[in-house]
Amino acid sequence: MRRPTTALNRTAFVVLASLAALGTLYLGARRAFAQNNAQPVTLTILGISGWTPSELAGKMAPEFQDYAKQTGGLSVRIKFEGAPFSALEQKAATSLAAHSKEYDIIISDSQWLGALSTPGWIVKLNDIIQREPLLKRAEGSFNTITRWAYQTYPYGSDNLWGLPQEGDVLALYVRNDLARDAKNQAAFKDKYGWKLPTSFEEWEQVTWPKFEQIMGFFNRPDQGLYGFAGEYSKTYDFISDHVMSMMWMWGGEIWDSNAHQVYGILNSPQNNAALEYYIALLKYQPPGANTFDINGVIQSLTQGKAFSGLTWAAVGPAILTPEMKDKIIVVPPPGRIVNGKMVRIYCVGGQPWVVNKFIDRQHMRAALEFLKWWYLPETQMRFARLGGNPVAQYVLDRPGFEQIQPWYREYRYMLVTERARDFWHNPTYASLLEVQQEAWTAYATGVVNSAKVANDYAACGQQKILYDAGFARQAPPSSCEEVRLR
């Protein structure tokens, strides 16, 4: 008689026990979830040390931390780690090659997109951009060169691997106090018969031959003043950015990106002339200019040694010091008249954000929140006010944008597809660059006396690199065996 009661009790016990277990599980999971949300996620960014736009990401981090907490209830802490340009790729690539979670987001250089994406180290962003309205809006606002340079591999394709962290262009910094000086104005007009430019609009009309007259006019070594300062250093890509710009303006190309053919293109007669021209400008520059890096140009300008200097818009804050900001204006670099039309093509600078593919979901979520925050109009405006170079068109087109920083008018003018160009984006980028830097610095320092030999050397070396790596169909010709730098 007692059995049914026992059975009922047993059933009730099982049910109750199951409910209790589920309840415990539920409460435990809730607590764990709450803890997960409360535990701060450390988002580590690897960027370029000593480079204002890159370091601003670290400086602006507290603002993101507040944003993440308010919008997604995410507790995020940002850690910024830096490496100089010349060591950033080694640091990033070796860490990613080990599938390390050390860095969540990396500020890479645009040309590394191929090298970082080919082995599958970084996240392909196409789907994420489509899914996230904030990123989609930002993406839709980038102009073509911004998209090609900071996002794509292969260059110009639809494969998006990065999002622009900062944009950058080459800019000409000019000592306008000297140009405006009445004596200089009169003497220049007497000598050359045209007005020494003093405004953005006047500089817009300046071609390289005209600029050479200006450089020559202000080249006064006896007074410790030189006409110009450019980049010629072997480190990283310093001489390459400038020389390639000259080559494009002289009507040359640096390779055929479809066939991966360099030989016969890089060492073309136009490119030989362009290289020769750029190296010949050393006669208007301070002693030691043939090894100048970005710092060499900055120092020449800030210490009053050079009338003008060609370097990146991103280093505006370093050049426009309190002593110099009223003396220097930032204008478009010289152009070249081709078929009656002014042609102005320069290397694009700037860097994209890329996301480490090996990080866990929690870090990935935080990284995406960070990127979404980065493209908020207010974040981009804050970045601009601090001296970074935003790229979202909805910020560039805001009234008064060009007045925020002294170089913004030039920056906006140059960051368009017909005036800015990027190069390679190939996994062999670092090797291609190294041989080119070697060749062109050899010519700049007199190790070889012919631009043709320097370009032949670079073209042969690059063709071999691309052929050995399986990109190019054609091996370098046998004549390359004879090409040496000394």
Binding site: S86, A115, S233, K234, Q299, E438, A469, R486
Partner: protein, 294 residues
Amino acid sequence: MPQPLFTWLLIAPSLALFAVFNILPLLWLVGLSFFRYNLTFGPPPQFAGLKNYTDLMNDRFLWGRLGLTLLFVLLAVGIETVLGALLGYAFWKKRDLPGRRLALTLLFVPMVLAPVAVGTFFKIIYDPMYGVLPYYAARLLRIKPPDLLGSGNLAFPAVLAVDVWMWTPFLIMMTVAALGAVPKALLESAEVDRLTAWQRMRYVVWPHAKFVLMLGVVLRTIDAFKTFDLVSAMTAGGPGNQTQLVSLTIFREAFNDFAIGKASALSLLVLFIAVSLASIYLFVLNYGVLREGK
């Protein structure tokens, strides 16, 4: 506990560390040198047999870089040895020289500085626009400030001079230590026997001092062969390829081009050359002993 077992137990930790941090990486390096392996493109590591080595043999630029490195080693170690021996002898001979201790201490300063810091300092010192050296050279010699690191002809000697500045003190130290090993009694006997300075050097000093001195030369040779940070900071191998030593080439292959297989093969080649050079030194040094033994 038996004595041999106890001995092995005592040296076991050192052996373990040596195996983990020296032997295993070396074996790994040897293994990698037979693979075609590039980190940033291409397929996963593929066995390539001796391809990396044959590529190196056929690389016409590599031999130029090895030649440049050998020239650098020869000149750097040669000059440092001569200067170090002369100055070391002077310090040893003149023990009552006023300020000797202070001078010796100061002389060692360059040696304890980080080469990359030295390279950076000298880059500034050599700068033709702001540098101290070109400034005084121009004033004293009434010439245009020389552009030492920006000239294809001057960059190599300019880097070499910094290496000599940095490492001559090491040879001074070794010379002083070597000469200190000569028994005083023998030197006094030599004086009583009225040996000439040359005879004293040849028959009394040299046999006792040569081992320590040659050890210094061997260590410097191996070290000079590996010179990297100094040159990297000063010239990055430039201008052109005028200071592109082989260590910079290995770095470039491994951490610029990420050609791990080729870089491994090149590292082994350089290791082989460095070990061969050290062996030649040791053979020459022990030649007399070996001959007497026969």
